[in-house]
């Protein structure tokens, strides 16, 4: 293959760039588009109980890998208590222990979460045993089996079975057998337990998942029971009221199964209250926190670890390769002529402060004035270096003059001219005057306009918010730019300008043939 080495290198660079970028977006949750903040939930469980002048142990079920969220931080606020966490089946339990507790006690568990679409992992644990068919009472038995038979006839698998059963069970105009089974007075948990009781008749394993709805800011909240059914591979969640599949949006699965939420030994009157608060947080801060939690050094050694002032410098510097890319495209693929290879990039950097229109105006004004003075200097027969030094001085004075005059005229844009690269301007004027003398004003003006056009396009690309963001947060993407420019180095096709330049030859050759 032609240029195999180069293509392999470009491919390697691209793979590294995209791989790193993929890792950062998928594993660390760094967003691909600039967002300043993300939703962060702080959920809190408050455990209250009364001590009985003896040692006490308090077990509280807490979230473990909740679906749809990733945990950023956890706090167990409990001065004077021994603390241990332990996995119990699919759940996690925190145990506080202390001696000689008396009077009302309060313990807090706080978890900070962020929504994470990649955290929709399957719930497979624990693998349940198939339940035995309960000993139903007589009227109940007939109703359960009639219901189960008709549901079975209208379903294909466990999932559709559960859905159909829930639909019938919650039907506002229930059939006779459902009326027998339904206890309108029972609370939500009891109703789900009743459904479990019926499901056991079909030997389908089920459990109650306790979820905390996070809508708005929640105070004095409690857990809502949700039904989970095992289909032989994993646990499927259903809304026990409607039969809709899945957990509700913005709900945190706290724990699942028959175990109690809180279990107190050596104390009494235990109660748990929940609160939740939604806040916004800096996205990059979140990503860094998450990276720390999964022990990833990628962000630890990234530009984000630098001091802010240095970060701001790099925010600008990292867009320079994009400007260089624009130069490559416009010179090697389009065929524009410019003064100096990367002079337009430096001008484009200056445009950051002046903004585009004013940048172009100020650039043209300085170059035009500079050229006039340069033509005058030509008559003085100066040597090159002193002449360049004089031009530099003159350019700076011109810049100062433009600033002062525009300030007096109330045009504050004129002030930002101070950031123009004066050495580059002086060199541009020098080169332009030589081209003017040697090849005539047309060539000089064309190259001047070409430089300005490349600078303008470069500015638009370099200051595009998405480009700035990607270059800074995903600097590895610049390897992609590098791969492209390497490949462009072996581009041997025509430039657009050549399609124009050779139009007459093409006609003549065609005629000749």
């Amino acid at each position: 293959m032609k240029d195999f080495h180069l293509k392999a290198l470009a491919l390697f660079l691209s793979v590294v760039a995209i791989g790193l970028c993929y890792y950062k977006t998928e594993r660390l949750g760094v967003p691909l588009t600039p967002q300043s903040s993300a939703q962060v939930w702080t959920a809190e469980a408050t455990v209250r109980f009364n001590g009985k002048d003896q040692s006490a142990k308090i077990n509280l079920a807490v979230p473990k890998t909740p679906p749809g969220f990733s945990v950023l931080d956890e706090n167990f606020i409990s001065a004077g208590y021994g603390l241990a966490t332990d996995d119990v089946g699919a759940n996690r339990v925190v145990q506080w222990a202390a001696r000689n507790l008396s009077g009302p006690q309060t313990l807090y568990y706080r978890v900070v979460l962020t929504e994470d679409s990649s955290a929709h992992r399957d719930r497979t644990q624990p693998t349940p045993n198939y339940p035995d068919i309960p000993e139903y009472s007589d009227p109940e038995r007939a109703a359960v089996f009639t219901l189960l038979d008709s549901v079975r006839a209208r379903s294909a698998d466990t999932s559709s079975f559960a859905h159909e059963l829930l639909r019938r069970f919650n039907d506002p105009t229930p059939e006779a057998e459902v009326k027998v089974l339904r206890d309108e007075a029972a609370d939500a948990t009891a109703q789900v337990e009743q459904i479990q009781h019926i499901l056991a008749g079909a030997r389908i394993p089920s459990r109650i998942a306790h979820v905390l709805p996070l809508a708005g800011s929640l105070r004095h909240g409690s857990l809502t029971p949700w039904l989970e059914v095992y289909n032989g591979e994993r646990w499927l969640a259903f809304n026990p009221r409607t039969g809709a599949a899945g957990f509700p949006a913005d709900a945190l699965v706290w724990y699942a199964g028959d175990m109690p939420l809180v279990d107190v030994a050596g104390a009494d009157d235990a109660s748990v209250q929940f609160s939740a608060l939604r806040t916004s947080r800096d996205v990059m801060g979140l990503a860094q926190q998450r990276a720390r939690l999964i022990n990833s050094d990628v962000l630890e050694y990234s530009l984000l670890s630098l001091p802010i002032a240095t970060q701001n410098t790099y925010k600008i510097l990292l867009t320079v390769p994009l400007g260089a890319l624009v130069v490559v495209l416009l010179r090697n693929f389009i065929g524009l002529r410019t003064f100096g290879t990367f002079m337009p990039v430096l001008i484009a950097l200056a445009f950051r402060e002046t903004e585009l229109l004013w940048g172009c105006i100020l650039f043209s004004v300085i170059v035009a004035l500079g050229l006039i003075i340069r033509f005058y200097l030509e008559r003085l027969k100066l040597l090159l270096v002193p002449r360049l030094a004089s031009m530099l001085t003159i350019v700076i004075l011109l810049m100062a003059g433009v600033s002062v005059i525009s300030h007096k005229l109330g045009m504050e844009h004129g002030l930002s001219i101070a950031l123009f690269p004066m050495v580059i301007l002086a060199m541009t004027i020098e080169r332009m005057s030589i081209v003017w003398d040697e090849n005539g004003p047309k060539d000089a003006l064309l190259s001047g306009l070409g430089s300005l056009a490349v600078a303008a396009v470069g500015f638009l690309v370099m200051t595009h918010p998405l480009a700035e963001y990607l270059a800074f947060v995903f600097p590895e993407l610049l390897l992609l730019v590098l791969a492209f420019t390497l490949l462009a180095g072996r581009y041997t096709g025509y430039r657009v300008s050549e399609l124009w330049r050779f139009r007459a030859s093409a006609r003549a050759i065609t005629n000749k043939q």
């Binding site: 090159l384 040697e438 025509y494 430039r495 050549e498 050779f502 139009r503 007459a504």
Partner: protein, 333 residues
């Protein structure tokens, strides 16, 4: 209304027959070589960087050519440092005409041709007179690198002013016509003569309005001329025919070009030769990055020719045989 509509439609038809842009596939089929391809496929592969200084520095070129017996304009003297500008009189003696140019000039810039003297006044070929101090200032500029590749300090060469052979008198306006030959792997592949016009101000630069006329390699006779992208039969200033002029010493000229390959080791080389009335063909300079205009002048694409030469397994070692090969492959008659 109807006439307006017709003119609009005919203009559209004209535009369709002669579009402002050509499709890349069209150019490719016609074998036109683009800048990127020239750089990437030929210059970067056949021209080793170590040999560039030989052609970029005209003084070195001159010395090498002298050793190899290739004729170049006689060197009168070199000014290397500012202080030597005062020695100008010693170098010039009482010579009436001479040329001053930078040793490492790029694209023909910074060349001053003096055609005569009147006391302390020097007459440029364009007729403008230059004072002694202006001349010295020009040399200072040359030394400081104003006209040189990369702007590095340079030397000023003072050499023989070519007296153009009469053959092109009828079709050139002032200046000196020069003959550019592209030599690829030592084989001449295409040739053209650049004829100055009033518009080009006596300069042999196509871009500025000089005429480019292709030369048939086999016979050394000019074919159609091209002026600013359009084919023309006669010189815009004199009205004389551009076509069918026989270049004298044609074989000798091609041999000079082919031998230049042995001298410079550059596989893709532009050789600029001028025809002097007294000294015959003289090599003016070499170019390691010769332009693409030769395609305009010859109205043919270079690429097919280059590919033919590239496909050769070996090229003859003798310059004469390479010339013969080039004439056989690319001659039209």
């Amino acid at each position: 209304m109807s006439s307006l509509g017709r003119s609009w439609r005919s203009r559209l038809r004209l535009l369709r027959r002669n579009p402002p842009l050509r499709m890349p596939s069209t150019l490719k089929k016609l074998g036109i070589l683009g800048m990127n391809e020239r750089n990437g496929e030929y210059i970067s592969i056949y021209n080793k960087r170590e040999f560039y200084p030989l052609v970029d520095d005209k003084l070195k070129t001159k010395q090498l050519a002298l050793e190899a017996g290739i004729a170049t304009p006689e060197l009168y003297g070199v000014i290397e440092i500012e202080h030597q500008v005062r020695d100008l009189d010693n170098i010039l003696g009482d010579r009436q005409d001479f040329v001053i140019k930078p040793a490492q000039g790029s694209g023909g810039s910074g060349i001053m041709v003096i055609g005569g003297r009147r006391g302390n006044q020097f007459l440029r070929s364009s007729g403008v007179s230059v004072s002694r101090s202006e001349l010295e200032h020009f040399i200072s500029n040359v030394l400081s690198g104003m006209y040189s590749l990369g702007g590095l300090p340079d030397k000023a060469i003072i050499e023989y002013r070519v007296k153009p052979h009469a053959v092109f008198d009828a079709v050139s306006f002032q200046g000196v016509p020069d003959i550019r030959t592209i030599v690829f792997r030592g084989i001449p592949v295409a040739s053209m003569v650049r004829l100055p016009t009033r518009q080009s101000d006596g300069k042999a630069n196509l871009h500025q309005g000089a005429i480019g006329a292709g030369i048939d390699l086999a016979t050394g006779r000019t074919v159609d001329g091209v002026w600013f992208n359009s084919v023309l039969d006669s010189h815009p200033d004199s009205g004389n025919a551009v076509r069918g002029i026989q270049v004298p010493d044609w074989h000798l000229l091609l041999e000079l070009a082919a031998r230049s390959y042995d001298l410079t080791q550059l596989g893709y080389l532009g050789v600029d030769v001028v025809l002097d009335a007294e000294h015959g063909p003289l090599v003016l300079e070499y170019n390691a990055r010769p332009g693409l205009n030769i395609q305009l002048a010859n109205q043919m694409g270079l690429r097919h020719r280059l590919e033919k030469v590239r496909a050769l397994e070996s090229v003859p070692t003798s310059a004469n045989e390479r010339v013969a090969l080039g004439q056989e492959l690319f001659g039209e008659a």
